[in-house]
Point group: C3
Chain length 136, copies 3
Amino acid sequence: MVSNIHITLPEYKRGFHLITQHIINAIGNMPSDGLCHVFIQHTSASLTINENADPSVRQDLEAYTNKLAPENAPYFTHTFEGSDDMPAHIKASLYGSSISIPIENSQLALGTWQGIYLGEHRNYGGRRNLVITIIS
Amino acid sequence: MVSNIHITLPEYKRGFHLITQHIINAIGNMPSDGLCHVFIQHTSASLTINENADPSVRQDLEAYTNKLAPENAPYFTHTFEGSDDMPAHIKASLYGSSISIPIENSQLALGTWQGIYLGEHRNYGGRRNLVITIIS
Amino acid sequence: MVSNIHITLPEYKRGFHLITQHIINAIGNMPSDGLCHVFIQHTSASLTINENADPSVRQDLEAYTNKLAPENAPYFTHTFEGSDDMPAHIKASLYGSSISIPIENSQLALGTWQGIYLGEHRNYGGRRNLVITIIS
């Protein structure tokens, strides 16, 4: 059985943000065993899984990512939407547009330290739409 | 229910290429709700989701990726298949060997600007084999 | 139908390691058609698919990855667990926490040269827990 749930996240500033609880709340009751797939319907934001506790991981990941895909590279031609646009597309593909997590005992089978991150790669990205797919 | 569909893409030159329509055509009728998983059976090409409209995104992503994983790094030892080979393996893992997209209303639930990219990372990679898995 | 299988890998040193056979052994009998999803419950190790034959690919990928996310970046603030910790979080997100592979004819539909890699990004990461999900 496959069911889809849509959510629109609150607007976040550029950076990595913990959104695990938004996902869990949107799903509600989970099947005993299954797979949870989360998909972001945008090309300048991403989803990834990383440390859920110390916010310094999110801060350092953002600092690193800005160095990895810097603005104003001299060879960029896709520049008309601003200097944060092409780096945002790059980051979206490097981190990816979906994550998937097993469901066990009607819960996400995340490790102790794992949480779901939104990577917001635009300065003003607006509210982002997600599609959560539950397979059971 | 799970079903698998095989397709072999036309040969593409090195770079990122929009292959959404190849995938949609290969699937044919989709279930009302489901998940579409696309897997590439190669280690020197990748699949990713990014902007489907302006070709400058694909061009800039390729230029960036060539700087991210340059040829002829002095520490490479896997060099006997040519200078584009080890960078191609690196790019394949950075972008990944599969993408997955929810199916809703018998259509891929892509965002307005999203398309499926083949990342062809070899100079002469030949035709690439994909396995499309439809879960419903 | 969805079923989950847990395995704990042997301890590996920092680097990329071929774990395909561990996954296949843990699954046992596979359905004729399906999808195999493998998830790592840690934030400083990753899963990716790459060349299964020549070990120089794994060696070069590790050398590259250490340059891509170097230790002791001056802007890192998440440093109390050692200089290999924040780079390990970065690598975990760049390569990703899960891979998925179609199942056909009761076998993983990997390409001829594809294998499953564990990316162990800590110097002493310990034994890593995986959850294998079989969808059929």
